[in-house]
Symmetry: C2
Subunit: 165 residues, 2 copies
DNA sequence: TATTGTTATACTCTATAACTATA
DNA sequence: TATAGTTATAGAGTATAACAATA
């Protein structure tokens, strides 16, 4: 098991992290400016708009956020703005059923064109069709690989908490 | 100018964002667990460890963080832990010269193996050498493209601030 | 007992604006 | 006047732990 990255891997890692950071930053700016939405809020709304049936909080949590309380917080903000509704599920009284409102759909529609434009201008302007396909294949593989390999493996190595001194 | 993304682009965009989000999450976990460092702090230390001459705050700000005060804050934390030193520059009395300490280098050395291992296991396990090269080329192009194209273009479209209703 | 979800709380990161000091 | 950096402050996002209610 090789304990280091070769130069090509290092170069790729840094370029990937930096490029995506720049993209994320631009996307967050756009969503905030055009619709007052954080990226997570946009993800929640987009997921709800895409689904043909209402989703539970657990459904939404999958892949969107890493803690339940974080999702509850974000959902609370979206509900306060009238972009989603929350109601107890008829099937399972423990579950909460989340639906997007018309106002929520409108907000997504307001934000989407600018979003698409940013992604196109920043990411896809410099990639041809073949590259887009290759990149998509690689990232789907990587994503599936990471999903199936929970990071808990590398968790408890050394603890370090307060000011070191 | 096409106002939408084609299906291949959409698929690639989402896969890229999700894969990198998972990677970032795992990397942050590892850095925190192994060295009590945020990713930005690790970037600062790595940049200093890599440079053969001391850097100014402005040097560090390039590409690491998006506001000066944020960098000042992070540098303050690192200094408090004894991982870096800050001193007025002899050349330009306005500037601050930042140097990594031995303790800082040690911390980087402690964190690096686990970091590399996470990146290798999560990202490069599913990519062969050709893919690594292709991904690196694409991401370097995209990064340079984004750097040269400041996102301010899409900034002022619509304002939306407080609670909507 | 396990699961769903919320609440309370605390902490980190980031950004804005005001300010000092030097070029 | 422009630049380098800090400070104070405020806000958003996220996580942990305790809790309530249902399966």
């Amino acid at each position: 098991m090789p304990d280091a990255l070769n130069p090509a891997q290092l170069r790729t890692y840094f370029a990937l992290m930096e490029a995506v950071s720049l993209l994320q930053y631009a996307v967050r700016q756009q969503l905030q400016a055009d619709g007052g939405l954080s990226y997570v809020q946009f993800e929640i709304l987009a997921k709800l708009a895409d689904a043909d049936h209402p989703l539970t909080m657990t459904d939404l949590a999958d892949g969107v956020v890493y803690s339940r309380s974080g999702l509850t917080h974000q959902a609370g903000l979206l509900e306060k703005e009238g972009l989603i509704t929350r109601a107890p599920s008829p099937d399972d009284q423990r579950a909460t059923v989340v639906e997007i409102t018309e106002k929520g759909r409108t907000r997504v529609a307001e934000v989407l064109p600018g979003h698409v434009e940013v992604v196109r201008a920043l990411l896809f302007d410099s990639l041809d069709a073949d590259e887009v396909r290759a990149l998509g294949d690689m990232m789907e593989n990587a994503r599936d690989h990471m999903r199936s390999r929970p990071p808990r493996s590398a968790a408890p190595r050394k603890r370090r908490a307060g000011a070191g001194a």
